[in-house]
């Protein structure tokens, strides 16, 4: 038994590292294998982004607002990835009968989720790059290149916290059946609203915006807009506060995800909700 399942730290790390790579590679291969997905994931979000850019254009808003929409559209791709390809992924796996295969492996559930996250980030980044390129080429949005490195730093921190939240959500979705699909839908447009994907989040008012800041993308997007467009971004918090808050959220979400995944798996086993029930 001990020969097959080594318990020393190096072996455990190697095994979990392999699981992360394996899960990430499946996602990356899948993302680039199906051409219709690539069209769906790149061209069609551009249409939605273009629609909201034209709303501002129709209202005669300054070009910076059009840039807010483009950045928001790029970040929406990550939120949708977290929601549909991470939080609800265990539900899809359950539907296809693969969840039990994950559960009988000796790797951490968080390694599987981290693999999904990394693979998903690669897939989603192609979509986001296309959205930003379309914003630059079709709508000529202003983008101060000298501020991009700082914005990218904040973006990386935002993604780390966001996928930490995704791990918590996946633990909740663990036990759900068909309602998982509908619940993911419920988290879509309302979060577009609360996170200020298409307008400065400060417009929601301090109380609502502060609650919305529990979703890391809210603060991250607010900070990125402030870095790139300064006062025009109508920031919610001083930009210097945002990285430490995101770091705290990252640590908190990873801790909670670990606890929640263990608890939900146990509960799911006891209630017999980890496989599809007939009838």
């Amino acid at each position: 038994m001990s020969d097959r399942y080594p318990s020393d730290l190096a072996s455990v790390l190697r095994m979990n590292g392999a699981a992360i790579l394996a899960r990430a590679s499946v996602r990356m291969v899948a993302a680039f294998r199906e051409r219709s997905w690539m069209i769906g994931d790149t061209v069609f979000p551009v249409l939605v982004m273009a629609t909201f850019v034209l709303v501002y254009r129709g209202l005669g808003a300054p070009p910076a607002y059009e840039a807010f929409v483009v950045l928001g559209g790029a970040m929406i791709a990550y939120w949708n990835n977290v929601l549909w390809s991470m939080a609800s992924q265990f539900f899809w796996e359950k539907e296809q009968g693969q969840l039990q295969l994950y559960l009988i492996t000796p790797v951490s559930r968080m390694s599987i989720l981290l693999g999904m996250a990394l693979g998903g980030m690669v897939m989603t980044t192609t979509r986001s790059v296309v959205i930003i390129a379309a914003g630059l080429l079709l709508f000529h949005i202003p983008l101060p290149l000298d501020r991009v490195p700082a914005a990218l730093g904040l973006f990386t921190l935002t993604l780390a916290s966001l996928y930490g939240l995704g791990m918590i959500l996946s633990s909740v979705f663990f036990r759900w059946g068909r309602e998982a699909w509908y619940t993911a839908t419920l988290f879509q447009e309302p979060i577009y609203l609360l996170s200020g994907f298409y307008f400065p989040v400060s417009a929601l008012g301090n109380v609502v915006a502060t609650v919305a800041a529990l979703v890391p993308i809210t603060l991250g997007l607010d900070g990125i807009r402030q870095v790139l467009y300064g006062e025009l971004a109508h920031g919610l918090l001083p930009v210097g506060w945002i990285p430490p808050i995101l770091l705290v959220l990252l640590a908190l979400y990873l801790f909670l995800a670990h606890r929640a995944l263990t608890a939900m798996e146990e509960l799911g086993k006891r209630e017999g909700r980890l496989t599809i029930r007939g009838g």
């Binding site: 629609t51 709303v55 254009r57 209202l59 419920l186 609203l193 994907f197």
Partner: protein, 280 residues
């Protein structure tokens, strides 16, 4: 005829079970109204952050109406085509429908009725929210209400038959092509000027926009509810002309959708695609 009606009714009932029996009524209500209310608030705040003057308030009223009624297009159009994938691949019941003594098209239209019902709930709540909370003035009295119902029904029939045409495509393509149908919804949202005047589109896109029935439908609804035209491009088109264009394009959509669906259905049966399972 009686059997057709029974098939439609049964399709609607099954559709309702698929849509609604996963949750208690309160949660289902939240699900049905979350999207329209959230997008309404997004547009409201977008207008508010730009300016708060009266001109933009009027612009918001027009955006609000276009966005609210476009919910019908996305729900009905995508919902009908999605039903094919759900039945064929998730529930694996499509082959049983084809072996029963009924036709698939009326069943599909029944599934569309469920979508119309849930979309109507969202539209009604959004209109109520707009009128009472956001102060959008809507002309809903007497003759305007009758016109609104008439225009809504005509637009819904057109949307449903475009959905049938997409369902035909769904019969002959793999499940993962579903995002093409969803993308078409996004394309219509952009090109029909649901949330901006089509005047801001480039000239080539305006031509495409003017070939879509939704463009005329939304313009007509805006005029009925606010009394004001919205699009400058359609400024010279009378209300009567809008009705005529909408009516003719709806008839053309029904005929085209029926023929197209029939052709796709024949192809799917000839190629053995009715029990195709393509999800992975």
């Amino acid at each position: 005829m009686r059997r057709t009606w029974e098939t439609i009714r049964t399709g609607a009932w099954i559709g309702w079970q698929v849509e609604a029996n996963w949750a208690d009524p309160i949660l289902f209500l939240a699900y049905a109204i979350a999207k329209p209310l959230a997008t309404t608030m997004i547009l409201f705040l977008m207008v508010r952050v730009v300016s708060q003057d009266a001109a933009n308030a009027a612009a918001f009223h027009q955006l609000f109406i276009g966005n609210t009624f476009f919910l019908y297009v996305t729900e009905v159009l995508i919902g009908i085509s999605w039903a094919v994938f759900r039945d064929r691949e998730d529930y694996e019941t499509l082959k049983y429908i084809y072996t029963a003594p009924i036709r698939f098209l009326p069943y599909l239209l029944g599934r569309g009725l469920t979508k119309i019902a849930t979309a109507s709930l969202g539209v009604a709540v959004a209109l109520l929210f707009g009128a009472t909370v956001l102060g959008v003035p809507l002309r809903l009295e007497g003759w305007h209400a009758a016109q609104l119902v008439g225009a809504t029904v005509v637009g819904l029939v057109g949307s449903a038959w475009i959905g049938v045409a997409l369902a035909g495509i769904s019969l002959v393509v793999a499940r993962h092509s579903m995002n093409l149908n969803e993308g078409l919804g996004g394309l219509f949202y952009l090109l029909s000027g649901a949330v901006f005047p089509i005047d801001v589109l480039p000239a080539w896109a305006q031509k495409i926009s003017l070939s879509l029935p939704f463009t005329y439908w939304l313009e007509l609804l805006r005029r009925i509810l606010t009394g004001e035209p919205y699009s400058g491009v359609l400024g010279g088109t009378s209300d009567g002309a809008l009705w005529l264009i909408l009516g003719v394009s709806t008839i053309a959509t029904i005929v085209g959708g029926y023929l197209w669906f029939g052709a796709c259905e024949w192809f799917a049966r000839a190629r053995g695609l009715i029990d195709w399972k393509s999800n992975y």
